[in-house]
Subunit: 292 residues, 6 copies
Amino acid sequence: MYTHTQRLQYQASPDRSDPVYAAKLQELIGGQYGEITVMMQYLFQGWNCRLPGKYKDMLHDIGTEEIGHVEMLATMVARLMEGAPLDSPGHDEVSDPTVAAVIGGMDVQSAIVAGAGGRAVDSRGNLWNSGFITSSGNLMADFHSNANAEMQGRLQATRLYNMTDDPGVREMLAFLIARDHMHQNQWLAAIEQLKTDGIEDLPVPSAFPLERETAEVGYQFITFSDGEASTQGRWAGGAAPDGTGELSAVPGPHPVDGVPGPPLSDPRLFATTTPDLELPGSRVGADAETER
Amino acid sequence: MYTHTQRLQYQASPDRSDPVYAAKLQELIGGQYGEITVMMQYLFQGWNCRLPGKYKDMLHDIGTEEIGHVEMLATMVARLMEGAPLDSPGHDEVSDPTVAAVIGGMDVQSAIVAGAGGRAVDSRGNLWNSGFITSSGNLMADFHSNANAEMQGRLQATRLYNMTDDPGVREMLAFLIARDHMHQNQWLAAIEQLKTDGIEDLPVPSAFPLERETAEVGYQFITFSDGEASTQGRWAGGAAPDGTGELSAVPGPHPVDGVPGPPLSDPRLFATTTPDLELPGSRVGADAETER
Amino acid sequence: MYTHTQRLQYQASPDRSDPVYAAKLQELIGGQYGEITVMMQYLFQGWNCRLPGKYKDMLHDIGTEEIGHVEMLATMVARLMEGAPLDSPGHDEVSDPTVAAVIGGMDVQSAIVAGAGGRAVDSRGNLWNSGFITSSGNLMADFHSNANAEMQGRLQATRLYNMTDDPGVREMLAFLIARDHMHQNQWLAAIEQLKTDGIEDLPVPSAFPLERETAEVGYQFITFSDGEASTQGRWAGGAAPDGTGELSAVPGPHPVDGVPGPPLSDPRLFATTTPDLELPGSRVGADAETER
Amino acid sequence: MYTHTQRLQYQASPDRSDPVYAAKLQELIGGQYGEITVMMQYLFQGWNCRLPGKYKDMLHDIGTEEIGHVEMLATMVARLMEGAPLDSPGHDEVSDPTVAAVIGGMDVQSAIVAGAGGRAVDSRGNLWNSGFITSSGNLMADFHSNANAEMQGRLQATRLYNMTDDPGVREMLAFLIARDHMHQNQWLAAIEQLKTDGIEDLPVPSAFPLERETAEVGYQFITFSDGEASTQGRWAGGAAPDGTGELSAVPGPHPVDGVPGPPLSDPRLFATTTPDLELPGSRVGADAETER
Amino acid sequence: MYTHTQRLQYQASPDRSDPVYAAKLQELIGGQYGEITVMMQYLFQGWNCRLPGKYKDMLHDIGTEEIGHVEMLATMVARLMEGAPLDSPGHDEVSDPTVAAVIGGMDVQSAIVAGAGGRAVDSRGNLWNSGFITSSGNLMADFHSNANAEMQGRLQATRLYNMTDDPGVREMLAFLIARDHMHQNQWLAAIEQLKTDGIEDLPVPSAFPLERETAEVGYQFITFSDGEASTQGRWAGGAAPDGTGELSAVPGPHPVDGVPGPPLSDPRLFATTTPDLELPGSRVGADAETER
Amino acid sequence: MYTHTQRLQYQASPDRSDPVYAAKLQELIGGQYGEITVMMQYLFQGWNCRLPGKYKDMLHDIGTEEIGHVEMLATMVARLMEGAPLDSPGHDEVSDPTVAAVIGGMDVQSAIVAGAGGRAVDSRGNLWNSGFITSSGNLMADFHSNANAEMQGRLQATRLYNMTDDPGVREMLAFLIARDHMHQNQWLAAIEQLKTDGIEDLPVPSAFPLERETAEVGYQFITFSDGEASTQGRWAGGAAPDGTGELSAVPGPHPVDGVPGPPLSDPRLFATTTPDLELPGSRVGADAETER
């Protein structure tokens, strides 16, 4: 259960309005790696966590923090939208190139739909959707997903930092960039902790018996492109990062013999086929052609 | 530029048809972490890579391999769909519980739309979309994304391995699981290579000056939930994984003072507000209230 | 069954072209609350209505009217797009800020994809989708949805009215705004009619027995935020709008005792868990721990 | 800023597992009118609210409560998924019709993707997206949207109540149904409060001057279908609910004279047209044909 | 402008209910090639048509007919949903395999969300979206799109015809299949008419000067796969269907010389690159390396 | 299985950067009819093709070629993005209208998310999704879909050709336009080949017995709009293109007699209905009202 204080985790006041920048900043709210994504990702991981104790608690901590980050950004966007031009160049001659740039670059939908407020969309106006989040139940996989999310998020925040000189905006971004920095550390540390605790290891999932794999290709780097340099990387030789095998480079791809025959076709579905490929029954019989 | 051989990278023949399993296997084709996702992710990373040489070549290698994995899975799904029941329980009494399970669990849209072939959708029939892929231009961030994708992918493949006893299906999955294993190794090794080469380091992006961050929160684990255990983790103390700072635990969140005032409102947008909050102009002036 | 006359319900001629405004006007065609939404919402409510007579007839009336509103807007957009600049600032120096604003603010996809015609998208180019419509079968719920749709629609239309001075555009919008005004009245009147006819009442659905609810929280306003003022509203005291209970304010949230234990985990799914949380069987037994 | 307690607002324990019901219950988490929708809708309305005081505070209260409702439902779904069958009818003969029904009706993606946890999707597996939420800045419009959301939500919850006999599930639903009941009251009371406070009135937006509308159609119910009964409703006569005009019924639609001519076409876009409809320039000139 | 009669274009009454078939039939309402798609496609083509006369009139005719087809199907689906089982196999033992099949195969969301009515979704519950429609302004291209839509639609309808024996359902489908048959004829005839009238020809768009193309590859069939047979087709020799050139087969793909260098990178975006690839300025200068 | 050469099929180098044009060119990568669409469409048609030999081989050829077209475009977009302005008009006064146009018209998300690289989105930033592709299993239907895709694609490419004067961009487009020209020929020739080979004919699917259709409406053009001219087209008279029937024009639509009654309603779903419309049982009985 959650509670709220009206005070923010950090101030969110621009020195001046900037509707074009407001549109860009939406990426950090409703983009693929925006704060809604990490908020929802950590909340669902926390709710679904099957391991009581420090991992589940930690997921609750960070998921709850991220709700407040969305709040800070939505507050900032609404302030940056103040005074956005509503006029149309079809009627009103535009004499100032700065105004022209704002007319072209601002989020008109924010004005029409949201009264110039923050929205759950990205910098191009795409709707946020839950295909952006990951919650698999396997903590080793998910912590890597989380580390990636914080890296992409910090990367975008630093790009946005470079796109403005507004001291108020930069101050808030400096705070969020620092938190993304900490959260990168947090997930990488959590990966180490999982290994230290003997709970999960590489490869993910570590409980799947390695002998069930097709053994010979589990450590092979295979080339499929004519680039000459790729076999010179760390990934093509030496001890594997999973601590078990030895990496090797295998030039050229090696297809199996034989071209696969087409699947059989139920005539009631009117797929185009040849008469001698009729469906033999509801299941492939023992006497079906072996090359199929 | 790409070329194709009609031979597969590995065989893709089930021992018998199984339309319910075909629907499940679609997750590995068109799901969030299916083969279309990794194929498109690596192709775009390769095309956009600004670092000629072994990294770009390697991205081309693996991206090209993944196209063939989609091919193998699509071939398998079409064969598993052979003989799928087309009848309707509204008219045809079903006497066999196995048939009942198949009627309920198969992908009817595959029959109606695709003539019982493989499709670019997941196991619930959701369309694949490009919000599933990541290509940021920053290789350290993207390699973490790639490692996560291979972990989620292998996790799903092992779950699906446990959902069938079909030797042909298991043989193909054993191959794909081994490749996902290698690819986890590959991306983790590539992360090490980036550090060794001095190209990128943590935190991402490493070229952003740390002194621009809000320094005091870059290494703090802050609790936002009443769980007692979360400060006992590796993430709340000791040297930070980025190799620079020292992690610490900070109990309780600490909001800034003051409640943020509302953003100003343009009366032409008819947002509900009070008269004394009228918009002062197109930009916040020097004499605007400081607490805003 | 439907028929069509080529005459419009109202004129749709701008005085001059205005490609930037055309892009904005798309919100009224294909936006969340555009005319496609109300057209499809009322058509489906009409087709699904299980109450023959005046309600079903009325739904058919208004649903059919709305098809013609989409037609008017699509006609207007195509005319506003006339003469949209196709040149690129990469080659052609732009000397007129008005042209610069148009280049930045127009819908380039309309030109590339639709030959400068109206499209089933919103003002940011998002595709219309059927998640924007509601048709529940319960008329009391749906009429509130309809009232809201007309309010949001009129709100957006008045905002757009304020974004242009074009007499032709304003004349068409004045007509649509008046119809939205009528339709707000229509749905609010229909809500009254449902009550008068004794068909549906509040709370929705009124046929669900109130004694099945958790009685004590059905009329409580509970605070979850530290704002001081919220208990002073009409919603925190006095007779409830449903005509049955008495509203009250309850400060502070009150969680139930005990922290929920984690769900049990099937080891074949490789979720991270502890050994003593193995799955006991396909259903939770009578002797399972009671705190779970 | 938000904080979290690990205790739930209400218990969320089924008496037994039920994977088919778990799939259905997802509608209340990630559906169009699920708890994620109301949570995100109220949070954004609260953050964007430009009216400090009781309205903004109240939005923060209810938005924060709804986060905890998602938590309760996610907890319940994970428990209902316990022991879900993972086997495939392609290999394993199913002898029990109950098992057949579960195989067909459960959410296989929950197992494959989420380790049998709750997810941000609806009962058919569609991703939640932000097109489900409304935050316009106009409180009168938005409170009607909120009332509708609580009506649709309670309607769905009561339908789901009727789809199970599980005492634990019903107990949690009885709590949520009661809260939806309260929240219907809350928003209807808030609508009254807005009128009482003189802040907003009907029609929405009430600040738009009525004289700008096309006056004669603002109170007319017009028939577009041959249903005979629709003019007998409350919406076709009597005082309008907005308190200003008088409703009337106008039989038959009345198109304006003249068929609209086609929009002009830029030949560089290759739209099919006739030679005499060439584009006269970048803007429609004064001498353009008046009937266009 | 549109009007409606409550009588259907054709009867839509099943002989008995069949909820599983109702779910399948949704494909014809809200699927990629369902009736909503052709309705919206033809309506937008008609509204945007820049050629007054028989083509525009014909588009209005067929677009209006299709609205009534959605109506027929929505009516049918609601009737097929009558008596759908609402019980849950988690509590109620299922003894009848027919009931088990229905529980697994029906659209539970129709019951929960729509009160068992027709919906604007496909057979897997995916939302209809406007990415399914085409309206380019070029009639030759669009009429081919329309012919395809009618072919896919009739194909799906015949597949669904084969999935039921219900005389009432089959009667309605026989009507729709006949109309799809006519509409295939209609669009193919309209393509001929465009050529006869000298308005458009092949290739689309025929007004683009052929001499602007890279001449040598406009009639070449080039092989990119090791299949042996593809050069034996009509597409690899003989007069081209556009009536202008001569088709030929060109074995093997032929890449251009040289590997493309990477794009230059703005350091403020933190893309991973090498120091000597710094961005030279806002536009590529005359002295930029020629191989780039 | 696929392999890659780092050489492109054709050069992809602009003479100068042009970020606004880069955003437009994205339509050819990730739009509804972009190269990802045809690539994925042909790959899936090839994988699912049930007819071994020249058709399947040809699908593999063209599908593989299209992967390389995406590569060329992604390469071009990244180069056009070089030097895109990152500054914000909120702080930096813009004095050059050309720069203003670029600020408004470029894809800011490309910079923020992709480090200024090509992306799998269209010209408005919409995500590519698999609802853009068609693979039905019926080659006659799918080849018409393919012909349409190449027509729409060439149409968009010629429009984009007209939107730039950059020699390098035009050279690449001239190549792609020529390939689209060939591919139009290819699919139209393949349609002829299917007829010549006696594999498929019109109407699609040709194997469905014509006598099962409602015979009288299979060749009727019926008017639903008051346009006068539509019966003068080729589609309203003469031999049908399917080679079987004779087309005719039938003025005015002809609904069937009787208004359909409402579907019955399960009271547990709380749909609004009248008491005498209670549900008679799980299936419509023999004594149900005949007019229903």
